[in-house]
């Protein structure tokens, strides 16, 4: 999917994208291009990218690239795909029922779910809130097990 959505492999690219996306939500997916879940998510993202283009930008970061490891460490990303949301270079958090509010783990069941999530983030950011509740019902949120130190 790299040829459809901007794919970033360097830290400097990610930095400049985060810093230069102004007044729009930046949806940054960390994933592997070989993983099937990531591919499905990429498909959803690509198809919805145009719909949300007025208030969001979508980009993919290759979790296998060396320079991106800094971000994986910073965001404590252990499951892939993970999506991190930014607004005006601030990291936006979303409470989707799991313990980790800092990112969205997994894919979306429908494109509309993705659009709803991005819209919720945008509305909260425009009001000045850094954390927002997930608008999706719990059955449509992908669940995952949080492992602590590979236990």
């Amino acid at each position: 999917m790299e040829y459809l959505l901007p794919t970033l492999r360097k830290k400097q690219e990610v930095d400049s994208l985060i810093r230069d996306t102004l007044d729009k939500v930046l949806v940054l997916r960390f994933g592997l291009s070989s993983d099937a879940v990531c591919l499905q998510l990429d498909d959803v993202l690509y198809k919805s990218a145009k719909d949300v283009s007025k208030f969001a930008t979508v980009a993919l970061a290759d979790a296998a690239a060396e320079e991106i490891q800094v971000y994986l460490k910073y965001f404590d990303i252990t499951y892939v795909p993970s999506i991190v949301f930014f607004f005006n270079a601030h990291h936006m958090k979303m409470d989707s029922g799991s313990a980790d509010h800092t990112k969205w783990v997994g894919t979306f069941h429908k494109k509309q779910d993705f659009v709803d999530v991005v819209e919720a983030i945008y509305r909260a950011a425009m009001k000045g809130k850094l954390i927002v509740n997930c608008p999706l019902p719990p059955e449509r949120i992908p669940k995952f097990q949080l492992l602590y130190k590979d236990v």
Binding site: D23, L32, A36, V37, Y74, D76, T78, V80, A125
Partner: protein
């Protein structure tokens, strides 16, 4: 006076609140609302916009063309009269006619009826109704042309000519069709896409060491999914990963085995080990990435470490004194409506806009930022006021522009020593000397 006011009040109250779709407004003015200038303006702009989209569709009405489904999904039309989205989902054929669903919708009886109702309700002028629909004669002509086109495509199968059309008109048009006339559920997913039907919470549990022995357990649970696209998906995965296995593997299992295959072939990526995570009922199987270096020591978002995109290691710094002057030009540059000043990162956005503006003008080439760009006011262990420490910081910044970070040693951060200790220290040194 009172009598008049009461009359006016009662007149308004008698009218119930109604929602005007055009102005998107609830009003209790009744039929008078249609003649208000604001409504007239909104209506004319709405109809003009829709008319422009329709003109694109009508272009394809006259000359039908074919396109690939992957580009088709970008073409959609929102019909304002029916309040429905009309996508191009007609992917029964490998090549589908552009905006076929849109044309079908615009030619339909229900749409015509709704257009008339809309015009009547919002005062658009009943003479203009025919502009927003496709007459039956035209529709019949178009259908004939489509059939011949599809026939030709099937016969010749020449990718060259079709590619020309496809290259010309792939992403430009905002057309779509309502699903009234077409059964979306029956439209097959094109066979090059890998949909993950089984990727929900209802998946059966799988042990962590996934091998072919566990196929039989998970097999039955996934047979409910339509088999056609299923087998194709398995084939696609098989082909793409080169993993030799059963053709009838369920989606998920094929995926897992391919992951396992990748992992066993040796890690391709430096520092990343892709393994298979534990799965229990109701959970989704996600690829687990574990980094080899220690995470906890360096700090992350949970521990409140500084974000990596805000500290750079190369390039010039931001001059802190430059910040206040940036406020004034912003309001004069932007002519658009003001965004909420309380929104997240408003200060950053304003500052960055000015920066970008300056970069564009060529005054300042400033891509990357030094780690010291955040002015360090917090030198609490230093004596003196904050201004002094800020001045000191600015001096240092100027010095750092010439040199590297060696100048940090100029002003080492010292622990706070109370007056008494200092006095004692000086006494001691005096005594010693």
């Amino acid at each position: 006076m009172n009598h008049n006011n009461k009359k006016k009040k009662s007149k308004n109250e008698q009218q119930e609140f109604d929602f005007c779709e055009v102005c998107r407004l609830n009003h209790n003015n009744g039929r008078r609302h249609n003649f208000f200038p604001s409504h007239k303006n909104a209506l004319s702009s709405l109809l003009a916009r829709f008319q422009s989209k329709l003109s694109d569709v009508k272009f394809f009405l006259k000359t039908p063309m074919l396109t690939l489904p992957e580009h088709a999904h970008q073409n959609r039309l929102w019909c304002v009269f029916c309040n429905c989205d009309v996508p191009e989902l007609d992917s029964q054929f490998a090549w589908s006619v552009i905006s076929s669903n849109a044309v079908g919708h615009l030619a339909s009886e229900e749409h015509w009826k709704r257009v008339k109702e809309f015009m009547w309700k919002y005062g658009g002028g009943m003479d203009r109704v025919d502009l927003f629909r496709i007459a039956e004669a035209d529709y019949a002509k178009w259908e004939k042309k489509c059939k011949s086109l599809k026939g030709e495509a099937a016969k010749t199968q020449s990718v060259g000519t079709l590619n020309d059309i496809h290259n010309k008109h792939n992403t430009e048009f905002a057309n779509s069709s309502c699903n009234n006339n077409f059964d979306v559920l029956n439209s097959c997913i094109p066979n090059y896409v890998v949909p993950l039907h089984s990727y929900t919470n209802e998946r059966a549990p799988l042990p962590s060491s996934v091998l072919s022995s566990s196929v039989s357990e998970t097999g039955p649970s996934l047979h409910n999914i339509p088999g056609g696209s299923h087998v194709q998906d398995a084939n696609y995965l098989k082909n793409s990963t080169g993993y030799v296995d059963n053709q009838h593997f369920p989606n998920s299992l094929a995926r897992e085995c391919s992951l396992y295959g990748d992992a066993s072939n040796g890690s391709v990526y430096s520092g990343v080990r892709a393994g298979i995570s534990e799965v229990s009922p109701g959970l989704v199987n996600l690829t687990h990435i574990s980094s080899t270096s220690k995470v906890a020591l360096e700090g992350n978002v949970h521990t409140g470490a500084p974000p990596p995109w805000l500290d750079g290691t190369k390039g010039d710094n931001l001059d802190p004194a430059w910040k206040p002057e940036s406020r004034n030009p912003v309001s004069s540059i932007e002519g658009k409506s003001k965004l909420n000043p309380k929104r997240v990162g408003a200060a950053w956005a304003e500052r960055r806009k000015v920066e970008l503006e300056m970069e564009r003008r060529g005054e300042r080439v400033n891509n990357n930022f030094d780690a010291n760009w955040l002015p360090n006011f917090g030198r609490v262990w230093q004596s003196g006021t904050r201004k002094e420490s800020r001045k000191q910081f600015q001096i240092e910044n100027d010095a750092i522009r010439e040199q590297d970070n060696h100048l940090e040693a100029l002003m080492p951060i010292q622990p706070y020593i109370s007056k008494r200790m200092r006095k004692d220290a000086t006494h001691d040194t005096v005594n010693k000397s």
